[in-house]
Symmetry: C2
Subunit: 410 residues, 2 copies
């Protein structure tokens, strides 16, 4: 493509992470370098949804002060806002693409960076296909982020390491908390990840360094068996009074029914409207009924994805790196690809950034491999813990004033 200086636009899409803004900061840092092909960097508010409405922010001006870029790196959740807009298939309703092209032309935008997960890569893929078919000379690059770690080709995804660190650290604390009483009790910790168990696996990370781990870990990659579960809980209670269990929100029975739907637990309000509980609540009631001991469930909830106060320094550095690398790739004329992380070595941990064709990546899902799940399907393996451990290395703390973190608000 043509390498004259032109403007660029960057957007964020899908669920927030603790470090998605670190990737935005990486793109800004790249754009501000003196050999950058980018004249002016726009941010689209709320992803392509805002781009269609020309809701643009001049990031070049907003981040003229390097201290603001650093603050942005430690700000959780998408500072530009996000969207869940799915573009139509090119050819089915081209009005939306024509509008996007009109915006690109109006603002002289020749570089398009989209930071997101699986759905966002679908947007990158479709926009790539449309602009290619219509011979519009444009650099379109996907920059990965998702706490779910479910993108293919890349070794792992920026955002995962910080969520995994939040989970692993919180689990160490929960294990201390649960150990204080002598009364038999079961604590069930529900962790995000509907189809892929990467986040739940992080609950067992202590295994890699001889620290305590939950007694049982259930990933969505294995069918959940009621009887095996109760037997395992009973066996664990024989060993010590405080049993801790980590489960993925997405665990399912062999017939495909979600545990949260199929354990005979449902809420109903006074009007009889059924309200679904989570998998943790469902298992809490089930254990109470079946075993009769003290049980509680804890849902780690949205702090998993926005816990910037305990972000992984490794993850943050990688998140910045993929953003910067995207601008470098743009300068080299790369287009219609996604930035990927390549692991060179686990110990010592070494990685580098490459890029890969977007159509190989969009709409595919990477789950936890068999070698990372134990034979009985109720824990992770040592290989899993060793593989994941480097991703949570280092603590990237935000700056605090008066005891509270300072975040960027756009």
């Amino acid at each position: 493509m043509n390498m004259v200086k032109a403007n660029a636009v960057v957007g964020q899409s899908g669920g927030p992470t603790a470090v998605i803004n670190a990737t935005l900061a990486g793109v800004i840092r790249g754009a501000l370098e003196k050999d950058s092909p980018i004249a002016m960097l726009y941010g689209m508010k709320n992803g392509v949804e805002g781009l269609l409405e020309e809701r643009l922010v001049d990031l070049t001006a907003r981040f003229a002060d390097p201290a603001e870029i650093e603050k942005l790196e430690h700000t959780p959740a998408a500072a530009l806002g996000s969207c869940r807009k799915k573009l139509p298939k090119p050819g089915e309703n081209d009005a939306v693409y024509e509008k996007l092209l009109a915006v690109f032309k109006k603002y002289n935008i020749r570089y398009f960076f989209y930071i997101g997960g699986n759905d966002s890569m679908d947007t990158v893929d479709k926009l790539s296909a449309y602009t290619k078919a219509h011979a519009y000379d444009m650099c379109i690059l996907g920059v990965p982020k998702t706490i779910d770690n479910d993108l293919v080709v890349t070794d792992h995804t920026p955002g995962y390491g910080s969520a995994a660190k939040y989970i692993a650290v919180t689990m160490q604390e929960i294990l201390r908390d649960c150990a204080v009483y002598t009364v038999p009790a079961v604590t069930i910790v529900e962790i995000m990840g509907r189809n892929a168990g990467w986040l739940t696996a992080a609950a067992g990370l202590g295994m890699a360094v001889g620290l305590p781990v939950p007694d049982l870990i259930y990933l969505p990659e294995r069918a959940f068996d009621k009887d095996a579960f109760f037997a395992a809980v009973r066996a664990a209670l024989q060993k010590h009074p405080n049993v801790v269990i980590a489960i993925s929100e997405g665990i399912r029975f062999a017939d495909g029914t979600y545990v949260c739907d199929g354990f005979g637990v449902a809420s109903a309000d006074v009007f009889g409207h059924k309200q679904l509980s989570g998998a943790g609540k469902a298992l809490e009631y089930a254990v109470k009924r079946e075993i009769g001991c003290k049980v509680r469930s804890v849902e780690l909830n949205i702090s998993q994805r926005c816990g910037a106060h305990i972000a992984s320094a490794t993850d943050l550095a990688e998140s910045v790196a993929v953003g910067r690398a995207a601008v470098k790739a743009a300068a080299e004329g790369v287009s219609r690809e996604m930035m990927i992380l390549v692991r060179d070595s686990t110990s010592p941990y070494l990685f580098h950034v490459e890029h890969h064709g977007i159509s190989d990546i969009a709409n595919k899902e990477k789950v936890v491999p068999d070698a990372f799940i134990n034979e009985t399907g109720d824990h992770i393996t040592a290989a899993c813990a060793a593989y994941l451990l480097p991703l949570i290395a280092g603590e990237a703390y935000p700056a605090y004033q008066n005891g509270l973190p300072s975040f960027v608000i756009l």
Copy 2:
């Protein structure tokens, strides 16, 4: 009392906090000082419950290495274990006191330090009364800790500042997370504190320094009014699409019914056993039904009390200070009192430690005063935020190895 060197025993009781071990570390540091009246410091496992069974740990030997004491300061949850044992009224069943006295005599224990909240101070009070009535020469001191901040006489309680910091920091992150989408949505954050709203008030701490705060904050000190609540939520949705509400788990309607019991929301399992949801879940369903927008509820849960990874440096220092001061008071012959924090100044924040008669403190509860709650009963006042802010100052981070925190396990 007699000032010859004798042995001491220290215990932890009630719910865990992020810094209850910092107070234990303070007692250990005090006991190890060369002018200390303590020959040997025992730790009782699981409070008085373990003391009755002579389950004692030699802390003098266990913490000979100062690095271990420092690690203990950053370890969440009661390292000695805890209990919820309530002693009988002296005179009603003295067998338990006779057993305790036999243990004291057997181990030459003349100093008794009990770190805990309201229920634990009841134990201190009763043991004080019994030993006094039986003229047993003993130093009995209560050392406060509770995330609930509901003890009287002391300005605030060690443990509160770290829980408040966890809540205040997490709230800043949740506010960022909630701001990313444009679709109208209500997020309800349920915070601990059954009768006192101190912890929930911490959700609004950003007010003191011009940071974002939740739209609405409901404390248990005010009766919860359904109609006023829906009107306030609707008004907030008019202002911006992302409404965040902090509520105490203990909010009640004017008739005294807990919101979690009285909003017509109950779960039932297949056997028809009723399962109670929390107040957050109850309001989530109520808003969904009444207003119809997207709603979710988030329960901060046990991380509030064991989140050592984001402990308040001020709270940690004060927690150590009350432990050390207890040993000093013991050396001065003080007995049957609780250590208290006295605030000398809010800006700059200055405090000192004193002690106060236990019978004025035990079994009383301090709630949030009227001046700290706004007129409409749905937010805190600026005075409240200013008063609480110094308690979360500073970040006391534990040491990390391989990305995971190092905790002491006894």
